[in-house]
């Protein structure tokens, strides 16, 4: 599944930061995952562990934070958190909406040890 692709992109991005900041160890990677992203946490962790074997990232913890789905009603303009399907405006009950956020997958931060300069 495509969790592997996401983790390859994650590792490439983290490695850029590792090289730029003289990192000696990566302790934790915090990943923000939208509930609409189709990315499964177990598969993300499995791919992360498999792809980090033997490198500087080996043993780092992958922390996954969930982001709620936020929709904006096209009828009355209200922004609301959508907790399931169908997505319905709590004010006017319209089913017309635009998704504002909730389908993203992004690296939020990494916890690192650096070499003293």
């Amino acid at each position: 599944m495509h969790e592997t692709t996401l983790m390859q992109n994650l590792i490439a991005t983290v490695m850029e930061a590792v090289e730029k900041h003289n990192v000696t160890r990566v302790n934790r990677v915090v990943l923000s995952v939208g509930k609409l992203s189709n990315a499964l946490p177990d598969a993300l962790i499995f791919a992360f562990e498999a792809l980090t074997q033997g490198g500087i990232l080996q043993g780092a913890e992958l922390e996954i934070e969930y982001l709620p789905v936020i929709a904006r009603c096209r009828a009355c303009g209200r922004e609301y958190q959508a907790d399931g399907f169908p997505i319905i405006c709590p004010d006017c009950e319209s089913k017309n909406f635009t998704i504002i956020s909730g389908d993203e997958v992004y690296i939020k931060s990494i916890d690192i040890d650096c070499k003293k300069e």
Binding site: M1, H2, T5, L6, N9, L10, T13, V14, A17, H21, N27, L36, S37, N38, A39, F85, P86, I87, K95, N96, I99, D103, E104, V105, Y106, I107, K108, S109, I110, D111, I112, D113, C114
Partner: protein, 221 residues
């Protein structure tokens, strides 16, 4: 220990290439449809049947996504339409880079419409923008009426939904109106069509009209 803020979107690379594709299509006035649906939903059969009629009016090229075979591209080429094949070698979806590689092989000046048949899968393809104008979801009545609510993400972002195999309704315990209601609950703006195969004849008339209208709208801009 230090914390480093990164805020890097992992889909950024795909989205950037999709945006480039979209720009390239726009500069050549090409309309692009990304066709998604479960394995066996009837995507290729639907396309085989609408391509001859579409080709009477406009220049169409197909891009076929498949795990391992050229079967669907060969079926499409029998209709006289050029079909490029992408094999994902196990990958569950097409991505924008694969499309970019294929469009380099085409003379874009002579094309009005590109139809991409994604890998048979109702989940993963929905997360990867290819640069398309229209997302089309194909769902057969045989899959069961609850599929739109069980796989909502594909339907959420669909502009057009085609319900196939309605000729099988007499043999199934499926209410097509319930299926349509579920689709409308999730995405009231999607244009919904039905296709059927009766006595060996495939019927999808209004679909062709609708697609031609979308292509002309983009050309007219």
């Amino acid at each position: 220990m230090a914390r480093l803020d990164i805020k890097q979107d992992l889909k950024a690379l795909n989205n950037a290439i999709a945006a480039e594709n979209r720009e390239k299509f726009a500069s050549h006035n090409i309309y692009v449809i990304n066709v998604m649906g479960s394995p066996g939903a009837g995507k290729t059969t639907f396309l085989e049947n609408i391509l001859p009629e579409l080709s009477k009016h406009i220049q169409v090229v197909m891009i076929e996504g498949d795990l391992a075979t050229r079967n669907d591209a060969l079926r499409i080429e029998k209709t006289g339409v050029t079909a490029l094949q992408i094999n994902t070698n196990g990958g569950c979806h097409l991505d924008a880079k694969m499309i970019e590689n294929q469009i380099q092989k085409l003379n874009l000046n002579s094309i009005d419409l590109i139809i991409i048949e994604n890998v048979g899968n109702l989940v993963c393809p929905a997360s990867f923008d290819l640069g398309e104008d229209m997302r089309m979801v194909i769902v057969s009545v045989a899959e069961g009426e609850d599929k739109p609510i069980k796989y909502p993400i594909a339907f959420l972002e669909a502009n057009m939904v085609v319900i196939t195999k309605t000729d099988l309704l007499p043999y199934l315990d499926v209410d097509i109106n319930v299926m349509k209601k579920y689709i409308a609950d999730i995405n009231p703006e999607a244009a919904v069509f039905e296709t059927t195969k009766k006595d060996g004849v495939y019927k999808a008339d209004e679909v062709v009209e609708y697609i031609l209208e979308q292509v002309r709208k983009k050309k007219g801009k």
